[in-house]
């Protein structure tokens, strides 16, 4: 008679099968989520400044420092905790987070972005936060040029992003309306 395998072996095999399915499911899930945000999310413009480039696995990018990095907290939040940032648009059309709430508590599909708290805070106080996506991947030749141009540019630099269900997908970087790679190409000429 065939001996039954111990229960823990079956559980372990189950975990392996789930993870194997995850190898296919995770990339597909990420693609679908990002496509949904890009195609049906609301578009916002955020003012940015440059920081530092390069990632050994994913190539060149420009790190963006969002000008908007503090907001009023309407809940007691901890350092490193995720939070809901409610988006507002100023008179020039640039977006910013002005209110912070506990993660997944604000009910709005396209005016809330997930952020990470970067300072110790108490309720009803201004606190520091960071946007989760601050890297814009670019061609390895263009990225350093864009980085240099950002440091020298005196006008308004902003990034366009799609927001849906807290996810923010960065689209493109602009120098006063001119797309970054176009701006750099013109400058080089």
């Amino acid at each position: 008679m065939k001996k039954d395998k111990p229960f823990y072996i079956l559980i372990f095999k189950g975990v392996l099968i789930i993870l194997l399915a995850g190898q296919a499911a995770f990339p597909v899930y990420t693609i679908i989520k990002s496509e949904l945000a890009l195609n049906s999310g609301a578009e916002y413009k955020f003012l940015v400044r440059p920081a530092d480039p390069y990632d050994p696995f994913r190539g060149r990018f420009v790190t963006l420092m969002f000008e908007n990095s503090t907001a009023k907290a309407f809940a007691v939040l901890k350092y490193n905790e995720m939070a809901d940032g409610v988006l507002f648009v100023d008179k020039d059309g640039f977006s910013y987070v002005s209110e912070l709430y506990k993660h997944k508590t604000v009910k709005s599909s396209d005016a809330v972005v997930t952020v990470r708290i970067t300072g110790k805070i108490s309720k009803n106080a201004e606190t520091r936060f960071e946007y989760l996506n601050n890297k814009l991947f670019m061609n390895e030749k263009i990225a350093p040029a864009v980085d240099r141009a950002m440091r020298a540019y005196n006008g308004k630099i902003y990034v366009k992003a799609s927001v849906k269900n807290g996810d923010m997908i960065l689209k493109n970087l602009y120098f006063d309306g001119v797309e970054a790679s176009e701006y750099v190409k013109k400058e080089v000429k």
Binding site: A24, V28, T30, I31, F57, R58, N134
Partner: protein
């Protein structure tokens, strides 16, 4: 086929069979029956080293090539094409993995496919994150890669995938610690891969693949301890590391046969080197400066909750080492204690400096340093003695090397003129060469006799 565990014994028996037949102890038919019972000694699944190197190198090059092409980041490619391309590596990896698993291919091929599959997961995540500008933190990237890549070890039973997984886990934990987080989850990663390794070890601990894998495991454990310590109570690392190395050292006496060469016993030499290096580090006063609970650290990057893990290791590891020490004493292999009991000296010195440091100040540290230096001299002496007694030149040289390093370090500490240092080093070098010459001559003369 012969079970790996019995391979050595069966090989001996097969070598004996022709003699037994010749002396008419057994008949040809009986010896044939014995051969049929135990099966062939040739392992069809054994990794062919040259083939395995080519397969693995090929996979690594393809995998890295894909990652570099992704890094190039073409701008003019439409998003749809990028998305399809991003799914391609993992699809090929999974396909090749499934094919290899189903067809039961040779081990060398399996290793190559396992490496490609593992790297392909990273390539796909990297490409998607690049296409959509997401997963900014490199630690998150490694975390997802490790979790999704973990099944490759078990599906293809691949030591190379195990190596990549462990290396990835160490990298992840290092990044997390550097960024000011805590990487205690690293132990979960190690625990998840342990059943695979333990099975390999039980099957045949002396095979080259298992020796390499054991070395990787020992290295991963050593890094794991260092990376996950929160260090709120300064200096606990001395107790934890010395107990860990001593535990492994004494355990290795249980795990391996005495008559196997040292090179086949990775835990033995790894822990012995670990103990020696640790003792050399502890022979510096900076190691003993401001240690103990009187210098408790909190705030900033020190997480008091995560430090519970430090305290747990401070209790568990010495307890394990004491358990093994009792075992060694019972087994009457007392020379193992020369290295194996070093954790007792370290713990005693730690408690002494932590308690008496406030009252005695630098004198307490000086006393600890004195003991540690004397102990290193003792270790060198017993190592040289053991090497000479067992006619093992490598062990003799290890002992002399340890002593040489100690002298070198102390000479660099002291404010002596270049002339004195130069003369001392020349004398040391001459002693080294002459003693090597005489000992090797004596060993070969003994062998001839």
């Amino acid at each position: 086929m012969v079970n790996n565990k019995n391979r050595r014994h069966v090989k001996w028996l097969y070598d004996e069979l022709p003699k037994l037949e010749a002396d008419k102890v057994v008949t040809g038919a009986v010896s044939e029956k014995i051969r049929n019972y135990y099966g062939s000694l040739v392992d069809k699944n054994a990794v062919h080293p040259v083939l395995a190197i080519f397969y693995v190198m090929g996979s690594v090059l393809i995998g890295l090539g894909i990652i570099l092409l992704i890094g190039y980041n073409w701008d003019n490619i439409p998003r749809l094409f990028k998305v399809i391309t991003s799914l391609l590596p993992v699809t090929i990896g999974m396909g090749a993995g499934y094919f290899t698993y189903k067809k039961g291919m040779g081990k060398s091929w399996k290793e190559g496919v396992a490496v490609f599959w593992f790297l392909s997961i990273g390539a796909t995540i990297a490409l998607i994150s690049q296409t959509y500008n997401i997963h900014g933190e490199i630690a998150d990237f490694f975390l997802i890669w490790l979790i999704l890549g973990f099944p490759v070890i078990y599906v293809l039973k691949s030591p190379m995938a195990y190596f990549l997984y462990m290396a990835g886990a160490v990298t992840w934990a290092s990044i997390v610690q550097i960024d000011g987080g805590f990487a205690t989850a690293f132990w979960l990663f190690i625990a998840a891969a342990m059943p695979f390794y333990i099975k390999l070890f039980i099957e045949d601990r002396y095979s080259p693949v298992v020796i390499r894998t054991s070395f990787i495991t020992a290295a991963a454990f050593t890094s794991a301890v260092g990376l996950t310590l929160e260090k709120c109570v300064p200096g606990l690392w001395m107790i934890i590391y010395s107990s860990l190395f001593c535990f492994i050292y004494m355990l290795s006496a249980r795990l391996y046969d005495d008559n196997e060469p040292a090179i086949k016993k990775p835990y033995n030499w790894f822990s012995a080197v670990g103990i020696a290096v640790l003792m050399l580090l502890l022979s510096y006063d900076w190691a003993w400066d401001s240690i103990g609970w009187n210098h408790y650290r909190h705030g900033g990057n020190f997480y008091e909750q995560a430090a519970v893990f430090d305290y747990l290791l401070t209790v568990v590891l010495p307890a394990c080492a004491v358990y093994m020490m009792v075992d060694v004493i019972k087994s009457k292999k007392k020379m193992i204690l020369d290295y194996g009991a070093s954790f007792v000296i370290v713990i005693a010195c730690y408690i002494f400096v932590a308690l008496a440091g406030k009252v005695l100040g630098d004198t307490a540290v000086a006393a600890a340093l004195f003991f540690i230096n004397i102990y290193i001299v003792y270790l060198s002496a017993v190592t040289i003695k053991f090497g000479i007694e067992n006619r093992h030149m490598m062990t003799v040289n290890s002992g002399m090397f340890l002593f040489g390093i100690l002298v070198l370090l102390r000479f660099l500490d002291m404010d002596l003129s270049l002339l004195i240092r130069g003369v001392a080093f020349i004398i040391m070098g001459v002693v080294f060469l002459v003693s090597n010459y005489y000992i090797s001559r004596r060993i070969s003369a003994d062998e001839k006799r």
